[in-house]
Symmetry: none
Subunit: 126 residues, 4 copies
DNA sequence: GTGGTCTAGACCACG
DNA sequence: GTGGTCTAGACCACC
């Protein structure tokens, strides 16, 4: 499982890690039932502290995306929907799109990019 | 200029303010050359600390969206492209899209929502 | 003896197992003198580690609810009061009730639910 | 604000702290808008590490019970209902009640105790 | 072996 | 002033 930490990214490392794993799950690269790497191993691979990864895993567990069992590791949970509203989702989308329009991208270009990204996210999903 | 601060939004206030102004500029509601309200006035209107608005304005200036002149306030800059790469833009887009797919939205639904949001952002522009 | 393990339950498995058996005893479904299934059998039935069941049984024995005899299995003990104080009992009750009140349940609704649950626990007893 | 840590309690300290504050909010002892003590102050008062309290506060924020603002402390949020199901709530209630029945309490006694605890939780609530 | 919690202390970000 | 994050390392609990 390849995860990249961007030290120029303003988000905390544990958020970056959680988001990347979230994407791997969304894309189907990590199927339900798959075991995540042990906290200590992933921490070692990424060169960060054990607690940083533990925090990321806890966030994913709180979101219902993985199940962590003491002594037996973390496993990708079966599908379930969280309690986020569509407006919450739209808010972050709107923000991302705003930056594209400010950078001068045209409507059609943006739609193409969205389509492209969605293909990346959904292609492996059942 | 109407700006709303959402206290349940976990982003820092200065980011919320900067993002909202960014959207106003992107949508064309704030044209190049328009003066932004003085820091003190906006801070008073929103009931937040003066430094919070100052930080938001500084971020917008760093992004090249506004020009701050000592003694004469902040003015919306003419169009120019900032130093962000397309990959930076895609990263935040990808994150937003990930949450949609995890929430169970279908590809077509997401495309519709994106199109809808883009309409909101671009309708007043050009 | 039917015991269900909920993998989305964040309590350790051995606690889940012990709690379920506790409820079976409380409800009278398991009478004093009844033999519990052998550790190996129950572990096999539930698909969990042998130590997990052993720990659950040990906890029940420590609570005085069952007697474990080397070589002859575990037997439901006769009634006796354990060394827990009423304040200990009230603490977990208070916690459960707190969540109900925060979820907006009215006093009467909560009393009905408690009554309902007690009926379930006590109907087979005595 | 008085909070007691019980070192014989098997729950982690940060959970104990979060649960106690949850009860203070549920009971109305902490009204919406009230500021919680600063992380460092509460940590000092209780003799625990700063991070332990920060974790408790974060848990409460994730549950929507408080709003934490960087630089300006934590404030009890206005009422809102979380996304927990009634079955989740009943599970912890059932557990607490089971222990009462095992300790030999009669149905009527338990109902009285529940009523008593509810009075403590609800008396100050609007 | 696994993950969980806590500490002490550093350094950063927000208002 | 406030809270947030991260580290290094200890010790515990679970399987």
């Amino acid at each position: 499982m390849y995860i990249a930490i961007d030290e120029n990214d303003r988000r905390p490392i544990y958020v970056q890690v959680a988001d990347e794993i979230r994407q791997l799950i969304a894309s189907g690269a990590l199927q339900a039932g798959t075991a995540l790497p042990p906290v200590r191993q992933l921490a070692g691979d990424l060169g960060v502290n054990l607690n940083t990864i533990a925090t990321a895993y806890r966030e994913l567990q709180d979101a219902g995306l993985i199940n962590i069992r003491h002594g037996s590791g973390a496993i990708v949970a079966s599908n379930r929907s969280a309690g986020v509203t569509e407006e919450d989702l739209r808010k972050s989308l709107r923000n991302a799109l705003t930056h594209f329009t400010l950078a001068g991208f045209k409507r059609a270009e943006i739609m193409n990019i969205v389509s492209d990204e969605l293909r990346g996210l959904l292609q492996k999903k059942s």
